[in-house]
Symmetry: D2
Subunit: 327 residues, 4 copies
């Protein structure tokens, strides 16, 4: 059984070699709002999000993951987690960051930089975006896809089984399902930070043995399945090719659509999905035929979906240089 330590996936930082184009695409095509820009980074959020930002776009040489930010369930949970993390994985405390307060930073075994925090800044709408609807932080703009909330982040891990256990044990995450070519050997797994009624906010896909800390995609949520089909129309109209979808995943009934933002990172739009309400849920082991291309069992996932960020040659070089993780 999981304890509850996290309240939500708060933000994902991605690296973009074309930060201006990326930000313009996120604002104009995905319909995100730009909260602020500071230094090398732009801070964005979906129109329905209350927190300061859910996406950080930072300039860098290759599309990649910057870090993943989780908000805890309560103020004490940050110290609880900090006390658990293996000191070899800990990166230390950050007293303040743009958009949130004191955070504890650490790398998961497979290299992904995570941080947890409680204190957060809320978005304050400028006058032209203010609304009197109390459950909306700003008025609905309907711009582009009008993505509403960040939904999940999917990362690559050469080894999944122990990594799942690590996120569960250290962050109190719940394991919701896997695709297993053979029993007990996951090749795709989903976990949820806390929400019972959530499909997932973290997913793991495989990677080459030497790779560390790579990113497969970041997903944003729209309200209805039809909004994903409309998103496809908006994206095509803006000359953003559709990589895969719209379709419905077998593992979770989520309607999905994958595209690439100008810097290269894969972005998913999604809606729907089943509701899991059992803390003692036994994560099913789906056959690969029930996986990403199934549900309607006849959508072929293009090979390009295996691309992750940064590219493998960069990953090899990058992490060797940093010296943190050897092959």
């Amino acid at each position: 059984m999981s304890e509850v330590l996290l309240s939500q996936l708060a933000h994902v930082e991605i690296i973009s070699p074309k930060p201006e184009e990326s930000v313009r695409w996120f604002v104009d095509v995905l319909g995100l709002e730009l909260t602020t820009q500071e230094g090398q980074s732009a801070y964005l959020r979906g129109w329905g999000e209350w927190l300061h930002s859910s996406l950080v776009v930072t300039e860098g040489p290759h599309p990649a993951l910057g870090h993943i930010g989780w908000r805890t369930y309560g103020p004490g949970d940050v110290d609880t987690i900090a006390a658990r993390i293996d000191p070899d994985l800990a990166e230390g405390w950050a007293d303040a960051s743009v958009g949130h307060g004191r955070a504890f930073r650490f790398r998961a075994p497979m290299g992904h930089l995570n941080e947890v925090f409680w204190e957060t800044e809320l978005y304050e709408a400028p006058p032209e975006l203010a609304t009197d609807m109390r459950l909306r932080p700003q008025r609905y703009t309907g711009r582009g896809v009008a993505a509403r909330y960040i939904d999940h982040v999917t990362i690559n891990a050469p080894e999944l089984k122990d990594e799942i256990a690590w996120y569960r044990g250290n962050l109190g995450m719940r394991h919701t399902g896997s695709i297993t070519p053979e029993p007990g050997v996951p090749m795709f797994s989903t976990l949820t930070s806390t929400a019972i009624r959530s499909t997932h906010d973290l997913a793991l896909v495989p990677d080459a043995p030497f790779a560390r800390g790579r990113l497969n995609h970041v997903a944003y949520r729209v309200d209805q399945r039809l909004d994903v089909e409309r998103a496809a129309d908006v994206l095509l109209a803006n000359e953003t090719p559709l990589e895969f979808g719209p379709g419905i995943h077998g593992m979770d009934e989520i309607q999905y659509l994958y595209v690439r933002e100008p810097g290269g990172v894969r972005i998913e739009l999604n809606a729907g999905g089943w509701i899991n309400t059992m803390p003692d849920w036994q994560p099913p082991e789906h056959l690969p035929s029930e996986g990403p291309t199934s549900y309607f069992r006849n959508l072929l996932m293009p090979d390009s979906m295996m691309e992750s960020f940064p590219p493998l040659d960069v990953a090899r070089e990058h992490f060797t240089k940093i010296g943190q993780f050897a092959e």
Copy 2:
């Protein structure tokens, strides 16, 4: 900040003076599945629900609430809650019930009978309903409205403010919002058992000062907003009049539709709704104009929506007889 003690609204028991008609309507028109019948009660669930049952229909002289059942977040939470409840409100332990294990029963101050439990029976599909889709407990039947999950229960309370505080303190529920004619004086309130990404699973509406334990409605969820509109078609085709809706609530953006089951209890079908991910969310105080009839601000709620169960004259008599609650 709320601790997390509950995992979900597990079931609601309603009383029906026409149990056979009620059950037939729930099965044929709402599309629920009948798990079993024992004694005076029928046990039903939505096709997407893993637990034994989410709706219990028990024979009785007047439409009314039987009890509300909550599943805890973990096995220890049952004792935690039992230790907190004021002995004057406690009704005691039930070692086993149809569909679940050891439960602690108690009445909230405003008279509603609640129980909490951890051990539960899972639904086992008979061969004709079995499916190989691992995230479905049975195959999709598409019968009638095809309601998928129980969503929430709305009860009547003469006094809301302290009752909200009681559910928060004793069950760890989170207060998500209120309609307040004047600041701090709620006339409608929503709470959620645990789920961060939920709109609400318990709501409170007002009542006459002497009334106790009355029920306003039970809500079931369908996947998409269009499914609520289709539900209206199914209900009309089955000669179930529509009491109110389809429409979209101002307080939570939920698409709603209210009807009456043959025994008299009001049943809601819903979809959509915004996602609340902040444990420190300050529940807004909506003006009445933003309430049930708003969002699109031009649907008038019929007076019949004020009817609750059992009828007031019965409530007066009923609870006086029981001797539990005086005026």
Copy 3:
């Protein structure tokens, strides 16, 4: 049985006392495209429309109908119609107009100015709106409501029964239904220009006995019912109040939403509707309870929906001056 003389409702000209605001609203909020501006008029169309324009906004002192333009089924039909029209109603030939060729103009008995033409200009997308999708005249912009096609125009007539017969006899229109307080006495009627698989493109509502040529609303179509609900969100976000809807009409199952453009004219967004495929369809006489507010039989139509354009005092004055129609 109707002969087929018309192919479609081609355009509606409305008068606006605030033409700049009206045009900005049609472009930014409704998502129409501005084809051109000439003289006192702006010519607009939905993003999915092939013809030059479907809405003409002309400056004038009061919101009102300018004229209704119909495209015939073939080139010879213009002369066929011209030969039928009572010379007292004929206004004559216009050799060329912005957006279309030779047209015959006439007033229907109840005062509405109509024209019929065959030769038309097609919209040519500028480079920034060009698309390689062959069944789209331009790329999808997704701007605002993104209304796709003009759907129908609803006009006011003091006397409906003979007016219906007039449109049928002179323009070959088909009568699809009426709301009749008593049998044979229509208080609302729908007709279709030609399309078998259409709900209606002309509707008639009552008016004060002295009024002539008034307009109740112009409707634009979006693809799916959910798009009407999304339109409501867009409109509210742009501070356009919702007059009535979203809801579903009893007479034709159309999902509707009524608002006002800045000049004052009522604009409807709609989707759905049943398909009528029988030239010998007997137009049903619906009871008022089955009318605009029905289908779900519990939406009350606000009195403001009775307002039409121009206002009655202006109508009285306006038409007396013109001298065409006496009380």
Copy 4:
């Protein structure tokens, strides 16, 4: 320019080697209603259809096309058409048939048996299906897919170009579009009987040079795109595999889903589609990449979609025996 001779695709007769299973599937899974059974044939219709029947299932050795029935636009059109048909293609008059009156029967050059009629029987709902909704011939049952109307029939023709011209010239049909591997050489074509606001009700796909009169699929329409996705759920739940889809066609924006009925014939469910309102519409020549699998340009059409009925070996034998059409 087309004259208007037809009002609608009225019915399609298919041959089934398993007529009882086919009829049960059409009724229980597709949700059609069985009007009557006479002789070797069962007569069915969608719940929203006013005519006696739109699908006839006749017992026979192989899945195949029986005939296609069109209702004319007016009573005189039957004779008009009869006078045009090449006597070598004419099959003669049928004074009365189940569900309709006097019909003229003929084979199109590529072998498909067609009939045209005006007089038709309307469906009369039995008491348990009666409704007071005047634009519905029966109450909505919501059974299975709840297919509402027949939408189109797609037939195979070894030669398309002249066949298109034949349907246009003899039946007044309008050519709405083609997929052309090279300009002027159609490999897929759509035509519409009359309706301006329709996508198509007849489509032609290629065939082996010796084959005649083969059928690719029959399509039924549901109201909203989401209903096609729900149909997929219903079909899977009833163990009907999905052959192709749901997806959206590039040629007409129609949301489609293809399955097989128990006798073998392919059935399509669809919704959406663009609206063509121009009698002088120049049918575009789409590149194959824009065809059935496109719009979102990444759905691969399985080879099985090339199967047509009856199978080629039977077709060869069948038509040689009849002696009507030689290779």
